[in-house]
Symmetry: C2
Subunit: 416 residues, 2 copies
């Protein structure tokens, strides 16, 4: 059977990406549209106007998620795509924005084709995915799937002391709609990879089958401050040494475990931090990630056991604080296979791969079959004004989204 | 032959230690008398008045060193003792001050005994030993022995932008005397150990035979900043990892080399220092010390080779900057033996040991036979308001100083 294939209009999509990139633009490139800021409001106003121009039925829910729906023949749960348009402080034009604007491009194509679908097709813009102003990140989608209480989310205060609820009112996005409507048939999200794997391997499309689980631990080592010259090695209780030894162990642990296990010591601070004083305190973080929760637990346990052992040997104390812990998420195998199938059908090289970063799709995965499509990030750079993905790469990803969305929207049967 | 032995008056010495400790006293204990500050002036004024009360002939030289001389029968080079009275920002009552005030106690005893010595006996207070305001440390004694040009020293600007010369004038200690006079027959310095070895081993007296050579290196590692989740281990160029690996290598190198080799990573800074970002820069210091210069060079070479190797393997760049490099100093074997001999004669346990910290005595060692006497530091703590040495421990050290100074002052023959 020959499948009918459709193609998006990359010029139209790219125009929207550039236009949205002008809202909150930074000197030298990139954007700053922190969640629920004035810049976020301007970005929301712009994209909502595009949604309305495309004939979508737009609602804003109580956590500020914007959902635009194109009617189907039947009043069935829609096929949804989407992402977020808030950014980090020095964000790029693609992270999140691409997923939302590619959704609009799908709608535009359906309109151009005059295509009536069985199911409605929806595009969602989820509030505060980045978490750069309010914690936790992925807030809007988390509330959407019932993973976070609405009132708790609204009361969350940000880095500037303002609450989510007050900021939503201030920018005019404290909507009335129930959070979590509509029920969703299936969810797809197109996103830039934010890592170097596709580029490195020369692959065009990532069919994302999992999201890595995340474990962030902050360790505080307390030893004894001593003179670097007069204190023999055997009498030292060096907090910095224990921290460094643990840090390099984490690195080697990840290498030894292999697979997609990663480990990063990103933050590290010594006290008193003087060249000739043995540090009496070291505070450092270890970021562990794995798509397999058992492996992630194993990595945590090995790391925790190692730091206890080396701290005891050095005669220093160690305490640890969990900064974040998310279990890994598995996307829907069938849907992931269909992403890969469409890539092959369209002649694009494809790799089934996990996501190392968090995305709204991982929240939606709790309530419906979900998958993601990755396109390459130049030099693996993201959360940076240099973030870039070429139009021809975006086009490939958006074509997969378009064709799979249409296919899903013609399905009358719900997933079992 | 039974030697005549003399004893110092510990109450008188301790009173002076406490009185000087009131000048620049900090809340909670300790003192702050940064070199050439108003507090330093008050301390100098107090000790100079004591010198004058003891009948010493006091001169101030052009770098602000204060030399008090008690005449001998002959106009020979004096036997000198002394140290410094400037402190670090959170200094104790003993570091430096003990050496100066024990010198005054020796003079007081000579006066009490009505003892005429063959040679003059001198007590020196050297300018800016700590280096906490002006670099280099041990400045006054370094200029005294011709190791640093006087004009260069006077032009040195401190952490507050003022020059040594201006500050000397301001506090009234820009003296007229030639720096380096008088020529010295032998130099002794009583000092607190500032380390834990004597206390740990239950020994009363350290006969200091060497001062460790010091090598301070600052390393800057430059890698690539990347997302901690999306960047596979094999694609990382992690500056922080290379720094930690080097730090723990330095530690193990010192343990492996043994002897008195020590290694310390005291300062360590990552950029951007965020939990979920692979660091693109690490700046850290390694402090290496050994009493044997060949061993110290060997330690440096091993360390430098290791960091180059691990940096190359990680694909990061490494540059290094020498922050300080002093060769080890050997004290006079004969004089060190006489310190140990007097300790034994007086019934004190004694250990011949190196100094891990720098002292004025190591400068004087360039021009005359020199040795030091160490007394224990409680918990090895120094450069800290908790610095403490008990009066009975000070008494022992000062008794050795007194008896050996008298012995040296009766020598007509100069050292060959």
């Amino acid at each position: 059977m020959t499948k009918t294939t459709f193609s998006i209009n990359i010029e139209r999509l790219n125009n929207r990406i550039q236009k949205l990139g002008e809202v909150g633009a930074l000197q030298g490139g990139g954007v700053c549209r922190l969640a629920l800021s004035e810049e976020d409001r301007l970005g929301r106003d712009l994209v909502r106007s595009w949604m309305e121009d495309l004939g979508l039925d737009v609602t804003v829910d109580r956590i500020g998620n914007i959902i635009g729906i194109r009617e189907g023949r039947q009043a069935l749960p829609p096929v949804m795509t989407g992402s977020h348009i808030d950014t980090v402080r020095t964000g790029g034009l693609y992270d999140g924005n691409l997923g939302v604007l590619a959704g609009l491009e799908v709608i535009a194509c359906l309109n151009d084709l005059g295509l009536e679908t069985e199911r409605p097709v929806a595009v969602g813009i989820f509030t505060n995915e980045e978490g750069a102003r309010f914690a936790p990140d992925m807030m809007g989608s988390l509330v959407y799937v019932g993973g976070l209480d609405l009132d708790e989310a609204l009361e969350t205060t940000g880095i500037d002391g303002k609450s989510v609820g007050d900021c939503l009112s201030e920018i005019g996005y404290a909507g009335k709609a129930h959070v979590g409507s509509p029920e969703v048939h299936a969810f797809l999200e197109l996103h830039v990879e934010q890592g170097p794997v596709l580029e490195e391997e020369g692959v065009m499309i990532g069919a994302v089958n999992k999201v890595q689980g995340i474990s962030w631990t902050e360790f505080t080592i307390k030893g004894v401050s001593n003179h670097a010259g007069t204190t023999p090695m055997r009498l030292r209780r060096d907090a910095g040494y224990v921290a460094m030894e643990t840090g390099q162990f984490a690195r080697k642990l990840a290498k030894r475990m292999g697979g997609d296990q990663v480990a990063t010591v990103g933050a590290f601070k010594l006290t008193p931090n003087l060249v000739n004083v043995v540090p009496n305190q070291a505070i450092f973080t270890v970021d562990l990630r794995n798509t397999n929760n058992e492996k992630l637990l194993e990595a945590e346990q090995e790391l925790f056991a190692f730091v206890e052992e080396i701290a005891a040997a050095e005669g220093v104390s160690v305490s640890r604080r969990e900064l974040a812990r998310f279990d890994p998420v598995d996307f829907d195998d069938g849907l992931v296979g269909r992403v890969a199938g469409w890539a092959e059908h369209l002649g694009y090289s494809v790799k089934t791969m996990p996501s190392g970063a968090g995305h709204d799709a991982q929240m939606l995965a709790r309530v419906c079959p979900t998958a993601m499509v990755f396109v390459p990030s130049e030099n693996g750079i993201s959360h940076n004004i240099k973030e870039y993905t070429a139009p021809e790469e975006i086009e490939r990803g958006a074509n997969i989204l378009l064709n799979l969305m249409i296919e899903l929207a013609q399905e009358k049967r719900s997933f079992s």
